[in-house]
């Protein structure tokens, strides 16, 4: 038992405040398009709004939880809506 181990055992590390790392339970993401049977459409931008972040950028798949096919379809509709000025290209505090 080297000296180092010796005193490590004797003096337990006491934190000033109890260390409680709350483990963020990853909520089960689901494919909203499949679940609600909605077809993304550039004509109703409010539905597409939920796939944009505050700056108006398209959220990645790992956040939207969509399947590859639906993510691409949503992205295409968002780009069409942007072309028609129904959705902004860049904004702040979109929500």
């Amino acid at each position: 038992m080297s000296l180092l181990d010796q005193n490590k055992k004797d003096t337990p590390i006491r934190y000033l405040t109890p260390l409680d790392i709350e483990v963020k339970k990853p909520r089960k993401k689901f494919d909203r398009i499949k679940r609600w049977g909605v077809r993304p459409d550039y004509k109703d931008p409010d539905f597409l709004m939920q796939f944009l972040n505050e700056q108006g950028k398209i959220l990645p798949r790992r956040i939207t939880g969509l399947s590859l096919k639906h993510q691409r379809r949503v992205a295409r509709e968002i780009k069409r809506a942007r072309h028609l000025a129904l959705l902004p290209f860049v904004t702040d505090l979109l929500k």
Partner: protein, 128 residues
């Protein structure tokens, strides 16, 4: 064989009510004259643009769903480009799923139109 298309175009807000109607009629007649057939039309009226186009903050939106010959569609696209009143337009070809979806959307809008009170009551007691 005619394909089904859907076009949404924005007219500059500077126009008066009659000019807007006349511009839309001109486009509609262009479709009808060239062997097109209009399936559905929607007028979204004056809406605020998400970003200024040609320094204008809002515009008249209009949607036309129509059947048209595929080889004449880019001529129609050119027509919209040439029209100065139209500041932005988009023509989309509809496949059968999109056509079915549009019909469903129309039914839903009609139901909403027929029972506006039903809708409001639901919302009221939802948040009540």
């Amino acid at each position: 064989m005619k394909n089904q298309y859907e076009t949404v175009f924005i007219l500059t807000p500077v126009l008066s009510e009659s000019q807007v109607k006349e511009a839309v009629d001109r486009i509609r007649n262009y479709i009808l004259d060239n062997g097109g057939e209009i399936v559905w039309e929607e007028d979204w009226g004056l809406k605020k643009l998400a970003y200024p186009i040609q320094h204008k903050k809002n515009g008249f939106y209009h949607l036309i769903e129509f059947k048209y010959e595929p080889d004449k569609i880019d001529r129609f696209d050119l027509e919209l480009k040439r029209d100065e009143k139209v500041i932005r337009h988009l023509i989309v070809k509809l496949d059968k799923h999109a056509i079915a979806w549009n019909e469903k959307r129309r039914k839903r809008m009609q139901q909403k139109a027929e029972s506006p009170e039903g809708e409001k009551e639901e919302q009221k007691n939802e948040n009540a």
